[in-house]
């Protein structure tokens, strides 16, 4: 966990990609869950942020 946070602070690719992947995953779950309309409404923005973030952070150093 400490290594993960240090990776984030050092702007390393691995942990940031993980954060972006989790965002995309959460967004997709929000998009398709049957429980709460509000979650559906804001799912796209979460996926968009996750995707753009992924594209950006995959250029960070390893």
């Amino acid at each position: 966990m400490n290594a993960f946070i240090r990776g984030l602070l050092d702007i390393r690719r691995g942990p940031w990609e993980m954060v972006a992947s989790v965002l995309i995953g959460v967004g997709v779950l929000m998009l398709m869950q049957p429980f709460w309309m509000t979650l559906y409404t804001y799912s796209f923005i979460v996926i968009l942020v996750g995707t753009v973030m992924f594209l950006t952070v995959s250029h960070f150093p390893e």
Binding site: A20, I24, M32, M37, Y40, F44, F54
Partner: protein, 315 residues
């Protein structure tokens, strides 16, 4: 910009490779080799993508070319993301995704595990199992409607034979409760081999020495399975799940031929719904926004997929 990238590429090529003896320089060759591909993809993929994004902010309709095209800002997105019908479509897709992936992973992994026991003739049977995966989903889907016919259909007959129910008493594609399962069954029949093949690759990538070491430690088979087999296959399984997830998220051909989205809209997956909006109601601007939402979602999932691919590649 591409040219400059390729020139940089040629300059960066190491000396022995870049040796120019006679004829064209490496720089021009790299340019000549990559340019047509990039050009075609720009024309057939990027230009349309940019056009979709632009259209998604307008109220353009293809079937009314004389109407003024108004800039409507984010209104299309607002409407789609607060539309309960589209939300329902997403849930139909979720049902399809969840069950197809779960069942295919269970059956596919089991089959791979069994095939990996290397019994006699396993290659022949693997090839037979793989056949459905390579066929045209639309043609196969169309034929499955025949198998699903009440009374005369082979599927109904088999179910009737095994459970004793009357084969004429249920209709897999006509019943609101059964239709979502009809598409899950057909998709499972078609794509289980895909998961199986990838799991098999994962199983075969495990070095024998790991099991031998475990054997020396007197670890039980059960324990070996959970501490060696499963963790080693997991990256491959991830790959299969992500790929099936992306494919089934955009599923169109098989399901549109099987049920056409019906009865009602219980099997109306996103792609089928989008086709209705774009090519039957001709709401081009609105459906462009819809398309952009699907694009971004698939693009996000695809980037995770490529990450998983690279992880597996290193093995």
């Amino acid at each position: 910009m591409i040219q400059s990238q390729i020139s940089k590429a040629a300059e960066a090529t190491p000396e022995p490779v870049a040796r120019r003896i006679r004829g064209l320089s490496d720089r021009s060759i790299a340019w000549i080799f990559v340019a047509p591909t990039i050009f075609l993809l720009l024309a057939v993929n990027i230009y349309p993508l940019l056009r979709t994004i632009w259209l998604s902010f307008t109220n353009y309709r293809v079937n009314r070319p004389n109407n003024d095209v108004d800039w409507v800002g984010l209104r299309n997105y607002e409407r789609i993301l607060s539309d309960p019908d589209i939300w329902n479509t997403m849930q139909a897709t979720a049902h399809f995704l969840f069950w197809t992936i779960l069942i295919q992973v269970l059956i596919g992994f089991t089959l791979a595990y069994l095939i990996n026991k290397k019994f006699k003739g396993n290659n022949l049977w693997t090839t037979i199992i793989v056949l459905p995966m390579m066929l045209s989903p639309a043609v196969v889907g169309n034929f499955w409607t025949f198998l699903y016919q009440p009374q005369i259909g082979l599927f109904n007959y088999a179910v009737g034979f095994l459970t004793g129910t009357d084969p004429a008493s249920f209709s897999m594609i006509g019943d609101v409760n059964l239709a979502p399962w009809a598409i899950v069954i057909a998709d499972t029949w078609m794509w289980t081999p895909f998961v199986m093949l990838i799991c098999l690759a994962g199983l075969r990538s495990i070095p024998e020495s790991l099991y031998e070491a475990a054997e020396c430690d007197r670890a039980s088979h059960w324990r070996q399975f959970w501490t060696i087999t499963v963790p080693m296959v997991l990256p491959f399984l991830m790959l299969a799940v992500l790929f099936r997830g992306i494919e089934n998220f955009k599923m169109f051909d098989l399901v549109v031929q099987l049920t056409g989205g019906g009865p009602g809209s219980v099997t109306e997956l996103t792609s089928i719904n989008l086709k209705r909006e774009a090519f039957e109601k001709w709401r081009t601007g609105y459906s462009s926004a819809y398309a952009v939402i699907l694009f971004v979602t698939v693009f996000g999932l695809a980037s995770i997929y490529v990450k998983a691919l690279n992880k597996v590649k290193q093995r």
